[in-house]
Amino acid sequence: MSVVSTVITVITSALIVYYLLHGVLFGGLVVRAAITIARELAWPDTIAHDVTFANPLTPTVSVLVPAHNEGAGILQAVEALLELRYPHVEIIVVDDGSTDRTAAIVIDEFDLVETEVPVLVQTVPQDGATLATYRSRTHPSLILLRKDSVGRRSDAINAALRVSTSELVLMIDGDSILEPDALLHVVQPFVDDAEVVAAGGVVLPSNGARVHRGRIVSTAIPRGWIERTQVLEYLRAFLVGRSGWSSLNGLMIISGAFGLFRRDIVVEMGGLDPTSLAEDADLVLGIHRMLRDRDQPFRVVFVPEPVCWSETPSTLRVLGRQRNRWSQGLGELLWKYRRMMFRPRYGVLGCVTMPYFLAFELFGPAAELVGLSSAVVGIVLGILPARLFLTYLGVSILLSVLVSLAALLVEEVSFARYPRARDVEALFAAAFMEPLWYHLLHSWWRVTGLVRAIRRRESGWGEMTRAGFGQEP
């Protein structure tokens, strides 16, 4: 056997083991997620939310809304927040140097007047100077803070955190629409368990949904294949990934679009890391490290029921930039917290979640590239039969489809948030199409993000062209 043949055999064997391991781990996550969600749904909640809603001691929540050129969706987002079924909500919108009418819309629509809003936390840094603060005359719990942008979402969140007054802080995006009961659901773990320090909920693409007075009144799968594929991605990431990791107390990411934290813990962390591209995951990992280091019992949980609807990119250009940034952020994050990896002190997070993200999320595309290159070389040199390669390609495509369908099955069994049969058909089609086009592009974006992380390139706010929400007449 020649050297090349040996190398190709070794690479092929290693990759088979690699993908087998990935399949086993992800399969395990699907099962864990399904069990966790089923258990969650079996609990009676007939009175929990009513009790929480009506009680004077219900934890207060400050909603931090960073907005950078969110003119297309900010009105509906704020309307949705004002419609939340929750007794004590403070809403802090941060207009982070928008060049569109984001601030003007909030000021005009909700009757805001310039007023002083005191900074309560000096220990949280803020780089961009505050230009003005406003409070609504019609909704006194609504605050607008206008600041200079330094090109980072984390700085906008930190600015809001500094003036927030509640026990819990909810971080969402400027284009997010929360379901009316979302806060009651996501606050409940904090009420029931003093060890809960952070909780995340499900984020789903709002593209295709219709909004009336800040409420999602109908959900439908979006028409574009880019957005449809993202629906599948979000179902996989949230229903399977996060539910599964949370059940093992190894949740590494709480989405920046919908994450609730104990304010004192976030303040103790010094707010969000202004240099991080994955500031949401950075916060969660930082909390894990801080609390584990001082042996303080804590839980970071995921609540699968409430939904935050958020607009996702509808063009390849914007999506590519976003995924590029995510991949770069993940690389930088894992490097920053590398000392937590493989250390039993950090539990499942350090021993399983982080290595999983490193091996399969960050380096997954690179492994694919190696596999593909070795296969091509093997076929050209006649070492690898083309038929064998095609069979493995078929397996890999079907596995990818299977993972998406498994997530869809969990969604169907639990919540079935897409009521029409044709929505499910569209998702079936998207699941089969995804490996043939989207996966390739996604792998490319992730590889370039990884390269940027290795080369330590700077990145800022992800500019996104918003279409806004479909309005119910």
């Binding site: 064997s13 009676p44 001691l57 904090f190 069979t391 397996v395 369908l405």
Partner: protein
């Protein structure tokens, strides 16, 4: 040498089979859940109509079908803590007559935690919170979810007799309950005297005494004044702060001296001093012989 070809063919067949199975499962689940939801929503509508008729004092016969009986039990559990007075009593009486109290007690000793939690809700619905006895031991249930359900149900049903047990369960070393949930439940139950908080006042743990201070303040329990004034001299600064806030809420002018003494000893820039100043302002605003002295 590994048999790559054999393994690949096997994997292809297995993944294709699994994919087809999952697709069938999705289709099957959709059909089944659609039918179940339709039937469930019909049963819920009927059950809610029955609940309304019961609260109106009509003699409603016990449902003959299991589905409707379950829906009725659920609807009653949802409704009972939202209604008061005669409506609540009518609903509770009917549930007892229809045998739901016995079913609830059976459920409370079920093996599955979720069934025990359902039993708790149903039991308190059936008894209108008047006899919380069987629920109190559930505050020590091995499952935290059941303990949480017991806490909520006791609060929602206004079971004042259960307050001492709730207070004791907060400080339990083994199988504790959430202090936040218990505090909320006690506020809901609204005891009229701070005597029911005795276990908390006697606790060595300042966190537990803080809870007693919070509850006394929110419920404006005037008879907690002596304990709160004593708490102003505690070593724990947060307990002192909470006690000051509670005294401010109670607003008794008699507390002015204790508050002023505490303010003299407090760091003037601390949140404790801020709370004390607020409390002094509040009690001075209350008419009384000793205020403003």
């Amino acid at each position: 040498m590994l048999d790559f070809a054999g393994a690949a063919t096997w994997l292809l067949v297995a993944t294709a089979g699994a994919t087809a199975l999952v697709m069938l499962a999705i289709a099957g689940v959709r059909v089944v859940t659609t039918l179940r939801r339709r039937r469930g929503s019909r049963a819920h509508r009927t059950a809610m109509e029955l609940v309304l008729r019961i609260t109106d004092g009509e003699a409603v016969p016990v449902p003959t079908t299991r589905r409707l009986a379950d829906a009725l039990a659920l609807a009653a559990a949802k409704t009972v803590h939202k209604v008061r007075g005669a409506d609540r009593q009518a609903l509770a009486d009917w549930l007892v007559e229809a045998g739901f109290q016995d079913s609830a007690l059976e459920l409370m000793s079920a093996r599955r935690a979720t069934r025990r939690a359902r039993g708790i809700e149903l039991y308190l619905a059936a008894t209108s919170g008047a006899a919380p006895g069987p629920v109190v031991p559930m505050l020590r249930d091995p499952h935290p979810g059941v303990r949480a359900a017991a806490v909520r149900a006791l609060g929602a049903s206004g079971a004042r007799d259960a307050v001492p047990a709730l207070v004791a369960a907060i400080g339990a070393r083994r199988r504790p309950i959430s202090a936040s949930a218990a505090t909320m439940a006690i506020v809901d139950a609204a005891p009229s005297s701070s005597a029911s908080l005795d276990p908390a006042w006697r606790s060595d743990d300042p966190r537990i005494r803080r809870i007693a201070a919070d509850i006394s303040g929110y419920l404006e329990l005037a008879d907690a004044r002596a304990e709160l004034e004593r708490a102003l001299t505690a070593r724990d600064v947060r307990l002192r702060t909470h006690a000051a806030l509670a005294l401010g809420r109670i607003g008794s002018p008699s507390s002015i001296w204790a508050l002023r003494t505490a303010l003299r000893d407090a760091d003037p820039r601390s949140s404790e001093a801020h709370a004390l100043r607020g409390a002094i302002t509040a009690v001075q605003a209350t008419p009384g012989d000793e205020a403003g002295g």
